[in-house]
Assembly symmetry: C2
Homo-oligomer: 213 residues x 2
């Protein structure tokens, strides 16, 4: 995005993390529909394509061999294994987007965030979404009325583990109200877009102004 | 402002600085009219009250003796002398506002910003407004068609001096379009409101969520 004719901007990576049940997916979806310069990061995965999923939109579907090759060549920004399947974010399309001034949204957990932090720390802006109360969290984690108590308890334990990392994030949004939370995350995105570290040619622009050129 | 029933927030000080002619006053006015939790800082001054000015709204009008007494007791967040008159921001009302979760807007220059930075660095968020081009800056600094060239040149020199400090600010807004600039500064304000350093009781809130209380 060109801020004006003389200054351009490097894109940023906006990470949203949260325990499941905090409403992150709804926030991401709304944000993507409202902001035309924000794009969802697409992961590569070794798991099978499900009906309705689109290659290159939902995922890049790759073989385990291809995936391991990419790991070996350092082509992932972050990667993880979930239920035996491999998932990873290819670096090249993200780097291209950032260079073109486009912003990239990541819906990843704390571990993935840590991996990205170690690779591209300056381009990263992190937001942690919290549920407004234990009651709401339990309601959201109880997907069906007949869920046995121990299943809900397991989900709560996983959520508690993820929430222990809240203090590693730049911003915290307590999601009591979807509209308000979307506005808060959007404010973070728009504020970080005028962070001078992302404005290219700023020093030269100011010099021209100061010299009356 | 109460974020929810369990977390409250400490207010922040939003500083807008710019060379004159960059449109800062218009941005401040719009921002104050749009955001009901943002309040303009009121300065004390030794200069005479002008017709229409209201004590406690435009300024606190004080005698030179009162002013120097306040300086001596460290009651100012920042103070300066302009054309022989003294101006200063009393600390007490600002501290009260911050403690109550209200945000305070400052329209001050780089020197004032430096003074505040040395007193309450954690509560401070700073934005520098730049004009979009030398042409626009010159137009705005030429207040009347008959301004002699050397007067405009003096104003430009002062603007150039102020602009040399752009890199001491947290955010940079290039004011090519008022509506867009107001939105950008408002985004900065709203983003900094969800900076965890300003959320009171957050660690305890997360602990309660994690323990299912």
């Amino acid at each position: 995005m060109v801020v004006n004719t003389q200054i351009s901007r490097r894109g940023l990576m906006l990470v949203l993390s949260s325990p499941s049940g905090a409403g992150k997916t709804s926030i991401s979806r709304e944000l993507l529909s409202r902001d035309k310069n924000l794009f969802m990061s697409v992961s590569a995965t070794t798991r099978s394509k499900r009906p309705g999923e689109v290659e290159g939109k939902d995922y890049y579907f790759v073989t385990p061999e291809t995936f391991e090759g990419m790991v070996g060549r350092g082509e992932f920004l972050e990667h993880a294994t979930v239920f035996g399947n491999r998932y990873g974010t290819p670096l090249a399309p993200v780097e291209k987007a950032l260079a073109e001034g486009r912003d990239v949204l990541f819906d990843i957990d704390w571990q993935g965030t840590q991996q990205i932090q170690s690779k591209l720390p300056d381009d990263l802006v992190t937001v942690f979404i919290l549920p407004p109360s234990t009651k709401v969290l339990e309601e959201r984690l109880t997907t069906r009325a007949q869920d046995p108590p121990n299943v809900v308890a397991q989900r709560m334990a996983k959520a508690a583990d993820e929430m222990s990392h809240w203090d590693a994030y730049d911003y915290i949004v307590v999601n009591a109200d979807l509209e308000r939370s979307v506005a808060q995350v959007h404010a973070v995105l728009n504020a970080e877009r005028v962070n001078p570290s992302r404005l290219i040619g700023l020093a030269e622009f100011v010099n021209r102004l100061r010299e009356g050129r």
